[in-house]
């Protein structure tokens, strides 16, 4: 037991020292962050509560819908956790820079494994914990969960967090062990592929279209019972949801059975992972050390890139060229595109199977409302992408940042070139996403126009928030690219993006509502422009702020670093 604590001590002491350090400015900044966090909690709490209350007004379906939402939320958490645990355990077990130090001391292998597992779990779960807090609070409040619910959350959540962590460690060990040395840095490629396949199967298993095909439900009651059945019974997220549902909605399931199930997995998986680690760790790590590779760059690509970047001033061009080349040559960077692809496919597919025609609300209106929600959702997808690619931009300079610092370029042009570099692909992605989902939804023309313009503006803000907050919280000493977004700054960036998207949506919500209702009564809408113009102007102003402010903040921070 003692070596375990010793192995954990540097992390804990570092945190403590970090907290103690700092003058007034730092303390103020911390206070501002806490304020931001609490604001975010209140906002999320309020939104979820509203949604749950609304569900309850839909006759008989309240609990079922709330249950489905809980399932989706927990499944999202589970997949986020699994992914971030894979990345984090790759860093903590195989790439961290203190490994050489720790491995050259006689610390027992088992303590080492568990110490790293704890670090991994904490590092990759805190964000989910943070985001889940207001959600659970809202569920508890709306359904009168009270102390019992709180207790169950406190019991189940740690187990729910341990399972993906142990699984992540296990898979990472196996992957590192079985991949050839040269491929280990490309591990994310395999993780991405793996995630893609997993997602696909999850989706096939859950068969969302089951809910859509009316002929499978003879009856409303059948529909209801389908809504109350979990779609994938083999996942810890479902087990947790069952437990919570039995507490909250008196769902007739055996909560002790599911508790026993989740507990046994939470204890067995770490044990299994530790066995695997004992067997393969040394070979794996030894191999991970050899994972350097040399490759010859291609000439054609060089020429294309030169041509594509020629409108920019020379320094910006140089930075962009370097960034693009590094991106393409570094598998750890580009292989994250796989996850992006998975996200997009699942997203678009969801729209394809929506049961619009069976709804009691007139289709036209429903389409408009959904399409409007779609803009917000596409915004979230974009911000998820921006956090993977734009946010790490500055941190990626890493220990080579001194080159830029010591060369005669302004930090301003550094940030702006990162901004433009990320903006273009994000813009293309956002517009395509919205355009095609709107096509699938067959929305009215004015809505299509509004969506495209809104997402255009939003992308500017989202990109700038990514790049700017990335500069505000740079993490130069990372072990693996993919861990940069899961840092503290990543959470801040996420909060800012969500707030920005939320504000944009709120500004446009009222005119869209009016127009959608008109569509309901007249069939066609005239003079849509007049109603939309003021709020579009509002969004434009908001976007300018969202672009300028983060870049300014980031710039100021970078200048401080240079002092």
């Amino acid at each position: 037991m003692r070596p375990l604590f010793v192995l954990l001590s540097p992390t804990v002491i570092s945190w403590r020292n970090e907290l103690r350090a700092g003058g007034r400015a730092r303390r103020l900044r911390r206070l501002a962050l806490i304020g931001l966090g609490i604001g975010f909690w209140i906002g999320t709490y309020w939104t979820i509560r509203r949604v749950l209350l609304y569900f309850q007004t839909v006759h008989d379906l309240g609990a079922a819908l709330a249950y489905q939402l809980l399932l989706i939320i927990l499944l999202t958490f589970l997949s986020m956790l699994l992914f971030s645990n894979l990345i984090t355990s790759l860093s903590t077990y195989f790439l961290a820079r203190d490994l050489e130090l720790v491995r050259s001391t006689p610390a027992p292998a088992a303590s080492f494994f568990y110490a790293r597992l704890i670090t991994t779990t904490v590092n990759s779960s805190w964000m989910v914990l943070f985001f889940s807090f207001p959600i659970f609070a809202a569920y508890g409040a709306v359904f009168g969960g009270g102390g019992e619910f709180t207790l169950w959350v406190a019991l189940v959540l740690p187990l729910f967090l341990v399972i993906p962590a142990a699984l992540g460690a296990l898979i990472t060990h196996l992957l590192v062990y079985s991949l050839p040395a040269k491929r280990i840095r490309d591990i994310l490629f395999f993780v991405g592929l793996f995630a893609f396949v997993m997602l696909y199967f999850l989706f096939r298993f859950s068969q969302p279209e089951r809910l859509v095909q009316p002929e499978t439900f003879g009856h409303f009651l059948d529909f209801l019972s389908a809504m109350e059945t979990p779609s994938s019974p083999y996942l810890p997220s479902t087990w947790s949801a069952e437990i919570f549902a039995s507490v909250l909605f008196d769902k007739p399931t055996d909560r002790w059975f599911f508790f026993a199930l989740i507990t046994s997995y939470a204890f067995f998986l770490p044990l299994a992972a530790s066995w695997v680690s004992a067997a393969v760790y040394l070979s794996g790590w030894s191999k991970a050390q050899e994972a350097r590779q040399g490759r010859r760059p291609s000439n054609l690509l060089d020429r294309i890139l030169h041509w594509a970047t020629h409108p920019f001033p020379p320094t910006a061009k140089a930075i962009m060229l370097k960034d693009i080349k590094t991106f393409l040559r570094d598998t750890t960077q580009w292989s994250q595109l796989f996850l992006l692809l998975a996200l997009v496919v699942v997203y678009v597919y969801n729209f394809k199977v929506l049961p619009l025609d069976r709804s009691p609300i007139p289709t036209e209106t429903l389409r408009t409302v959904i399409s409007f929600t779609n803009v917000a959702l596409a915004g979230f997808v974009l911000s998820a992408v921006a956090i993977r690619f734009a946010f790490p931009g500055v941190s990626l300079e890493g220990s080579a940042f001194w080159i830029l610092q010591s060369s005669p370029i302004s930090l301003k042009s550094l940030l702006w070139s990162k901004f433009w570099l990320n903006l273009v692909p994000l813009l293309v992605l956002g517009e395509l996403l919205v355009f095609f989902t709107n096509l699938l939804l067959r929305v009215p023309l004015w809505m299509m126009g509004l969506s495209l313009v809104t997402i255009f503006l939003m992308t500017f803000g989202i990109t700038a928030i990514g790049v700017g907050i990335g500069a505000l919280y740079p993490k130069f000493n990372y072990d693996h690219v993919a861990e940069i977004p899961t840092s503290f700054g990543g959470a801040v960036c996420m909060i800012f993006s969500v707030a920005f998207i939320g504000a944009t949506v709120m500004i446009e919500a009222w005119p869209v509502y009016v127009l959608a209702m008109q569509g309901l009564s007249f069939g066609t809408v005239t003079g849509a422009g007049w109603i939309l113009a003021p709020s579009l102007a509002g969004v434009a102003v908001l976007t300018v702020i969202a672009v300028v402010l983060p870049i300014k903040l980031g710039l100021k921070r970078l200048e401080e670093i240079c002092e």
Partner: protein, 251 residues
């Protein structure tokens, strides 16, 4: 004390170390010399059980590094070429951490820490965070850490990089006095001066192969050089005899 038997390490196709056999006696200061990319660091990392050898064995103080890693590491101190220290820990906290990993009980640890910090002139910095240290100070802190548990074997990779002349002098004296006390010192270096001054025996490695081992006198004889010291011997021995041979690759 240190025993390497046919140690081989391949990185893909590149043979970084090729069937290297070597023995170092207790209380000896052994110098490990070679040009850049010769395989010194790789040898040391295999020896410390940080890398797995492709084939061959390494043992420290009679313990096989692969089979009894914890025992082998318990009697060995290691100073890597690019040491890592937790930036957010103070010097004392860092030393306590390393000491605890070696399971030194605290009164003894306190005493050792005080002595070593004093010796390496870090006492007044000991409660500062490491991120505020200079390069040489970090280096000296790592030296402290490696000596905390009074190792029987000290393995050092490029110890003199970034240390001022006074520090270099002290370090040399330290190695000599450790050796006098029975500690075996295995020291990789580029500095011929250092090797000449403190090493009883020297091994020269080039392109992964140990091309010469022996005392200074033996090496001179091998290089068939009468004067000029170790430097000419070194240059002579590591000179590429076959100009067309494929170059050792730098990372």
């Amino acid at each position: 004390m240190i025993r390497l038997e046919n140690l081989t390490k391949h990185f893909g196709k590149l043979a970084a170390v090729e069937s290297l056999s070597l023995e170092v006696e207790p209380g000896e200061v052994f110098g490990f010399l070679g040009p850049n990319g010769a395989g010194k660091t790789t040898t040391i990392r295999v020896m410390m059980g940080i890398l797995k050898p492709t084939s061959g064995r390494a043992s420290l103080g009679g313990y096989d590094v692969a089979r009894e890693p914890e025992k082998a590491k318990a009697i060995t101190g290691f100073i890597p070429d690019r040491p890592f220290i937790y930036e957010k820990l103070s010097g004392t906290e860092f030393l306590k951490f390393v000491g605890s990993l070696h399971q030194i009980d605290s009164p003894l640890l306190e005493r050792r820490m005080a002595d070593l910090l004093e010796h390496f002139e870090l006492s007044e910095w000991k409660d500062e965070l490491v991120e505020g240290y200079s390069h040489g100070m970090k280096q000296r802190l790592v030296h402290c850490a490696s000596l905390l548990h009074e190792p029987k074997i000290l393995v050092v990779d490029e110890p003199m990089v970034g240390i001022d002349p006074k520090g270099t002098r002290q370090l040399k004296d330290l190695f000599l006095s450790l050796a006098k006390g029975g500690t075996t010192v295995f020291l990789s270096t580029h500095s011929i001066g250092v090797a000449e001054e403190i090493c009883q025996r020297v091994g020269i490695i080039n392109r992964g192969k140990l091309i010469a081992v022996g005392t200074m006198a033996e090496l001179y004889r091998m290089a068939r050089i009468n004067g000029g010291g170790l430097e000419s011997a070194f240059l002579e021995l590591t000179r590429d005899k076959e100009p067309g041979a494929p170059d050792t690759k730098e990372p």
